[in-house]
């Protein structure tokens, strides 16, 4: 299991989702990726995308105006 960070600051929907999707393609099941974004829409969109692709959102928090969504990569690739 490895931990990764993805900087999606200043990107507007759906770019944070696209970046998350592309990042996860290169990761293995069980890996963790922390996505940092500034578009609040991403807090809906990234979890929605994760639900449909079998990845788990294990945390969402707001830190000084930034949203941090932590995703655990699931078994299903892509």
């Amino acid at each position: 299991m490895t931990r990764h960070t993805l900087d999606a600051r200043r990107l507007l929907c759906p770019m944070p989702v696209i970046r998350t999707q592309n990042k996860i393609k290169s990761l293995a099941p069980g890996d963790i990726v922390e996505v940092v974004c500034t578009d609040p829409g991403a807090t809906n969109d990234i979890p929605a995308w994760c639900r449909m692709h079998g990845h788990a959102v294990i945390g969402t928090e707001t830190r000084s105006g930034e949203f941090i969504i932590t995703v655990e990569v699931g078994k299903i690739a892509g």
């Binding site: 200043r10 507007l12 929907c13 759906p14 770019m15 989702v17 696209i18 999707q21 578009d39 609040p40 829409g41 807090t43 809906n44 969109d45 929605a48 995308w49 639900r51 449909m52 692709h53 892509g78």
Partner: protein, 346 residues
């Protein structure tokens, strides 16, 4: 039991693409959605930027639609590839800068490519004959099928009965009898089908699915191209066209002026790339200067910026100007309302 056939469906988030995908699901087809991000898609960017709207964050329509359908969605960044579609459309533009026919051919082509790479069998769209003046006409349907390369592996379930049978129909992967013959701009059949499937909520984009159909947006993009002398653009350029007031007081520069706090914050992110102006003696907007400006131009830009501040009626407003990390302060008289010609507004 045989493994189900697999279709990749173009999902815009609108009702038609949802119905087309649902129709396939009803026939036991394995469906996954695909959505292309060109940079011009109406994805609530104005909404995401504006402070007052941030309290109720926008969701991505295509993702939401896919979730309702219970299918996976793949969102593909086509920003770079789309530049050729937009700047050199073989079939020209629609009412504004929307190259709909080329755009549809491109997207179906990308979906077809994805289909072959991922072992899927055919492509599905929610196109309806006669629905859109440019891309969805009986005579343009075959153009899209041909130019995309998808040929008869492109199925439009909502109008299929009005079109020649495609391979999925001929091979019996789908039952043609259970497809539809929707035609024209009348939305009643779609509404009825939606009701039958219990679909009550869906995005209803006015005019089209992207900003290129919007006259104001198209004007700003035309201005950008004219000034550059070429139809080049980057993602930042087209994002900035969605934000603020755009005024061109001189041919060699324009000002992008935030209209409220959220826009000011968004523009702030670009302050290193542009000359940035901000009133400091009074509450007021952040303005970016795009282009070249000498001292007198900066004076003018500061006076315009002051006009949109709360000091608009004050004798003097102090404006901070930051250019290449060097900050100066200018005391300027705000322009009077009648000193800003209508023609400056892009």
């Amino acid at each position: 039991m045989a493994t189900p056939r697999k279709a990749v469906a173009l999902i815009s988030g609108g009702l038609d693409s949802m119905l087309a995908a649902r129709t396939m699901l009803e026939q036991g087809i394995h469906v996954e959605g695909i959505n292309f991000f060109t940079g011009f898609c109406v994805e609530g960017h104005t909404h995401a930027i504006r402070a007052k709207d941030r309290a109720r964050p926008k969701r991505n329509n295509a993702l939401w639609a896919a979730e309702q359908l219970g299918i996976r969605l793949h969102i593909i960044d086509v920003i770079d590839e789309y530049k050729d579609v937009l700047t050199k459309p073989k079939h020209g533009y629609g009412a504004n800068l929307n190259p709909c026919l080329d755009c549809k051919g491109f997207m179906v082509g990308k979906a077809y490519q994805w289909m072959t790479e991922n072992g899927f069998d055919f492509v599905v769209t929610g196109e309806v004959i006669g629905q859109r003046p440019m891309s969805q006409r009986k005579d343009t349907m075959p153009v899209i099928a041909r130019e995309s390369g998808a040929g008869d592996l492109l199925l439009r379930p909502l109008s299929a009965k009005l079109l020649p049978p495609t391979r999925p129909e001929r091979e019996g992967w789908v039952d043609r009898d259970k497809l539809f013959d929707f035609n024209g701009r009348n939305r009643k059949p779609q509404m009825a089908l939606a009701a039958a499937h219990g679909i009550t909520e869906y995005a209803q984009p006015a005019g089209g699915c992207c900003f290129l159909t919007d006259a104001t947006y198209a004007r700003k993009l035309t201005d950008l191209w004219q000034v550059r002398g070429s139809k080049e653009y980057e993602l930042d350029d087209i994002m900035l066209l969605k934000v603020g007031r755009h005024l061109r007081p001189r041919p060699h520069f324009k000002l992008i002026i935030g209209r409220e706090e959220g826009e000011n914050n968004f523009l702030e992110g670009y302050r290193r790339q542009f000359t940035c102006l901000r009133p400091i003696s009074h509450h007021g907007p952040l303005a970016l200067l795009d282009g070249t400006a000498d001292e007198s131009d900066l004076q003018l830009a500061a006076r315009v910026t002051a006009r949109f501040s709360q000091g608009r009626n004050a004798p003097l407003v102090q404006v901070e100007v930051t250019r290449q990390s060097v900050t100066t302060r200018l005391d300027v008289q705000p322009l009077a309302e009648d000193e800003i010609p209508h023609a400056w507004y892009i």
